[in-house]
């Protein structure tokens, strides 16, 4: 009798995989983009949008646009549908500049191919809280930039860029950030 080798191999591998699943990850360690997604939600809590922009957008909720690496969608899914100041976070995947029209927040990953200056130009003068991960993003006029320090996520804020957009950030948020002025460097709060 011929033994069906392939299905048996698949079954063994699957069984071993499930058994291997018993390992536990320490609770204080989180996947990078899950932590960043949670931080983005917190940034929204500490941000005040101009009254007229909120009234226009309120029906649609708070639109969080994501640009760059599609793999982060799964990490950000956990904040989709959650509320911030009675507005529901709605995730929107954007893969070209034309899609930035109705964003309230914009997160640009380091994987994006899009020219940073073009992104900043597309949202210029509009109340969009821009969040990124690279020094190029900061130089192009991005508002909040994540960086890593000793295995933990920290962030820089460019208050000039925030002011120009018409947004207001709470002092509680500024206290936790490194303040940066692209023309003169950065200072710890």
């Amino acid at each position: 009798m011929k033994i069906p080798v392939c299905p048996i191999i698949i079954a063994i591998i699957l069984l071993l995989t499930v058994l291997a699943g018993a390992s536990v990850v320490p609770a204080e360690v989180g996947p990078e983009y899950t932590v960043k997604a949670a931080m983005v939600r917190n940034f929204a809590k500490f941000t005040r949008w101009p009254e007229d922009s909120v009234s226009k957008q309120k029906k649609k909720g708070m639109c969080l646009c994501l640009m760059g690496d599609e793999a982060i969608l799964a990490s950000f899914a956990g904040i989709g549908g959650k509320t911030v100041k009675d507005r529901t976070i709605v995730l929107k995947w954007v893969d070209n500049l034309a899609g930035l029209g109705d964003c309230d927040l914009l997160f640009v990953t380091r994987e994006t191919r899009t020219n940073m200056a073009r992104i900043m130009e597309a949202v210029k003068g509009r109340p969009v809280l821009t969040i990124g991960e690279t020094s190029e993003f900061t130089r192009a006029g991005g508002m909040i930039t994540f960086f890593l320090k000793q295995g933990r996520i920290r962030f820089r804020i460019n208050p000039d860029a925030v002011r120009r957009s018409g947004l207001k950030l709470s002092s509680s948020l500024l206290e936790l950030a490194t303040i940066v002025h692209p023309s003169i460097g950065e200072s710890e709060q």
């Binding site: 699943g21 989180g30 990078e32 070209n96 500049l97 191919r113 948020l173």
Partner: protein, 655 residues
């Protein structure tokens, strides 16, 4: 026959039970989402330094050549870039034409390698391969190239059993307002390239002209114009694109008959794609039309018209964090019209075929460190006489051994369909002693059945050292081969015609290993050492076949060293070395003489002077040390040629 290829019931049960099993909760993720900012600042994160996480985690042997590497390498063609990748064999057989193979023999009609531009297949359905010289894309328009070595059957479908090359083009929003490049040199083509972009609309034009090699006097001129428009309608992202392309070649020598003739090829393609997200789910759809009119002077076959229409829809659903299922449905329609030819005959002058496939692919993160991926694909292709549909399947597993080391393994089963050449066409293959030898298609062919097993390891070893290694074993049954024992002999006066048919009588095994070791030495120097070991063996599958059997026409191993050195912000240097040992190129036919490629070195390099933030002047060379080395590739050239080294200058400027 085809109805033997049933999906194993056990595998189906495993897939279904896995898809519908209770999904374990991800309490730790949910907890993180509800933390306040001060608490989040205390959470330690898992991250992979400098490398995109989704590429690091892929349970497949994958290499990505990015924009920076393309810019600095000085490479003038896409195959020049592919030569740097372990497991990929590249042979430039004339100034115009290059043959590329992944984990397979280096042959012109390489049906097991799928080449895509932005996810759309570009290949010649008559021979099921890619004619690289006719691919309407220049390196200047490429954003990155993803090379997947090994079976991509469940994800990519037809003709991808040895690998996939996906060429991603530059988007309008990644471009400056305008850029321009011009270059040329000794034994190198003269090239002009111009791009303008508004951020939404990108227009690009390319032209190149070459004077051939000393050993091969054929010359060519290629050109294309392309456009892409990106826009957004409500929550939908939309892309519209198109290309017009053409090329001319003079004094091309026919592969077997030695007749010298010219060829003209021209065509167009157009595409539309839309996508949007629904929360964490994503829907996308695209349509593509491709048409070209080609003279294949190498086979003395002018005026062949080929068209492809392709429609695809994909939906990706996240059941829970870490548990995602992708569904896809794809329909392709092929049309080939072949006018009466001197040395090429076909059963039908107009050939139409259609391909339908359905794919389901499920990925589950079982724990924070272990991920499993199960793929299943159903394909129905009308090129097969016994068209009952085929199932491909795959199982992929990855596991983090520690924060910076990922081990992965996979099993794949897929099928490879015959081309029109194998199923519908008779082509003159040789003229010898008053006898015409024809290779003749067989409409009753079965698809080739491939099974493969792979294991790999990816690790950031610290101190800027990155290791990527994989080993594989593959088995092909029902391999399609020209059978010199299945003959039809026709006497035509003093001449004799012998038809040799394609049959499914060979089984092959391939095995080998690849390794890439990337090292950062200080901030200025980065080097990649690439090692490839490859072996292939073929045997009779049954007692019917009694002809010659070719084992391998690729080198046993390949060594590459690819280095980039940054002298300063204004000056950098790229240098690439390759060594391949001598190897035989025997052809499995009665009439073929043994062929051989000499052992050879190859050195390519480019020194780039950035004379302003907008402009770069480069001086480069290619194929150094290859002069005098003879090589001969089956089905491509009638006699060995010597590769010509070239030197060139290139100027780039953007606004």
């Amino acid at each position: 026959m085809i109805n033997k290829h049933k999906i194993p019931a056990t595998a189906l049960i495993i897939v279904l039970s896995f898809l519908f099993r209770p999904i374990p909760g991800r309490a730790e993720d949910r907890d993180i989402y509800d933390l306040d900012l001060k608490q989040l600042l205390e959470v330690k994160v898992e991250t992979l330094n400098k490398r995109p996480q989704h590429l690091f985690e892929l349970p497949a042997a994958t290499t990505v050549i990015d924009r920076q590497e393309i810019e600095r390498s000085g490479a003038q063609t896409i195959p020049d870039l592919l030569a740097r990748v372990p497991g990929v064999f590249v042979k430039q057989v004339s100034s115009r034409e290059t043959v590329v193979a992944i984990r397979n023999d280096i042959q012109m009609f390489n049906t097991s390698l799928l080449v895509l531009i932005d996810g759309t297949p570009y290949y010649n359905q008559t021979t099921a391969n890619v004619v690289w010289s006719m691919l309407p894309i220049a390196v200047e328009d490429v954003d990155r190239i993803e090379i997947i070595r090994g079976d991509g059957g469940t994800t990519w479908g037809t003709n991808s059993s040895s690998g996939v090359i996906n060429i991603i083009t530059r988007s309008p929003d990644s471009e400056p307002v305008a850029r321009f490049s011009a270059g040329g040199g000794l034994h190198a083509p003269f090239r002009l390239h111009a791009v303008t972009s508004t951020g939404f609309l990108r227009l690009s034009a390319h032209a190149e002209q070459d004077q051939g090699w000393s050993d091969d006097p054929s010359t060519y001129a290629n050109g294309y114009v392309s456009g892409r428009y990106d826009t957004s309608l409500a929550d939908w992202n939309m892309h519209l694109g198109g290309r017009l392309f053409g090329n001319l070649a003079n004094d091309v020598t026919g592969g077997y008959t030695g007749i010298v003739s010219d060829e003209k090829n021209h065509g167009f393609d157009t595409s539309i794609s839309v996508s949007r997200t629904f929360g964490e789910d994503k829907f996308s759809a695209r349509g593509f039309i491709y048409n070209y009119n080609a003279d294949f002077a190498i086979a003395e076959a002018p005026g062949i018209q080929q068209s492809l229409g392709d429609v695809e829809m994909r939906y990706s659903h996240l059941f829970a964090p870490g548990h995602r299922t992708r569904f896809a449905i794809n329909y392709r329609h092929y049309l080939s019209e072949i006018p009466p030819q001197r040395f090429l005959e076909q059963r039908h002058q107009k050939i139409t075929d259609s391909l339908v496939n359905l794919t389901i692919d499920h990925e589950s993160r079982l724990t924070a460190t272990t991920t499993i991926n199960l793929g299943l694909r159903y394909e129905r292709f009308s090129i097969l006489q016994d068209n009952n549909g085929l199932f491909s399947s795959s199982l992929r597993l990855s596991h983090y051994l520690n924060k910076n080391t990922l081990a992965w393994g996979s099993y794949n089963r897929s099928y490879q369909f015959p081309s029109y050449l194998m199923s519908d066409i008779s082509v003159l293959a040789a003229v010898k002693d008053n006898t015409y030898y024809y290779q003749t298609g067989n409409p009753a062919l079965d698809p080739e059945k491939n099974d493969s097993w792979e294991i790999g390891l990816r690790s950031l070893l610290g101190n800027g050292i990155f290791l990527d290694a994989s080993t594989f074993y593959g088995r092909t049954r029902d391999e399609i081969i020209i059978d010199p024992t299945a003959l039809r002999i026709t006497h035509m006066g003093p001449m004799t015609r012998i038809d040799q048919f394609y049959t499914n009588h060979i089984k092959s095994t391939t095995w080998g290993a690849e390794m890439s070791l990337g090292v950062d030495i200080g901030k200025a120097l980065h080097s990649d050492l690439g090692l490839t070991w490859f072996h292939r063996r073929s045997r009779e599958q049954d007692s019917i076949y009694r002809g010659n059997i070719n084992d391998q026409y690729a080198p046993d191993y390949k060594i590459t060293v690819n280095s980039r050195y940054t002298f300063s912000d204004a000056l950098d240097f790229s240098l690439f070395f390759l060594y391949e040992p001598a190897h035989d190129n025997n052809v499995t036919t009665k009439y073929a003489s043994p062929r051989r490629t000499d052992a050879h070195f190859r050195a390519d390099g480019s020194i780039n002077y950035h004379f302003s933030p907008r402009g770069t002047l480069s001086a480069g060379f290619k194929n150094l040390f290859n002069s005098g080395v003879k090589w001969d590739v089956p089905s491509v050239i009638a006699r060995p040629v010597s590769v010509e080294p070239s030197v060139f200058l290139n100027l780039k400027y953007h606004w």
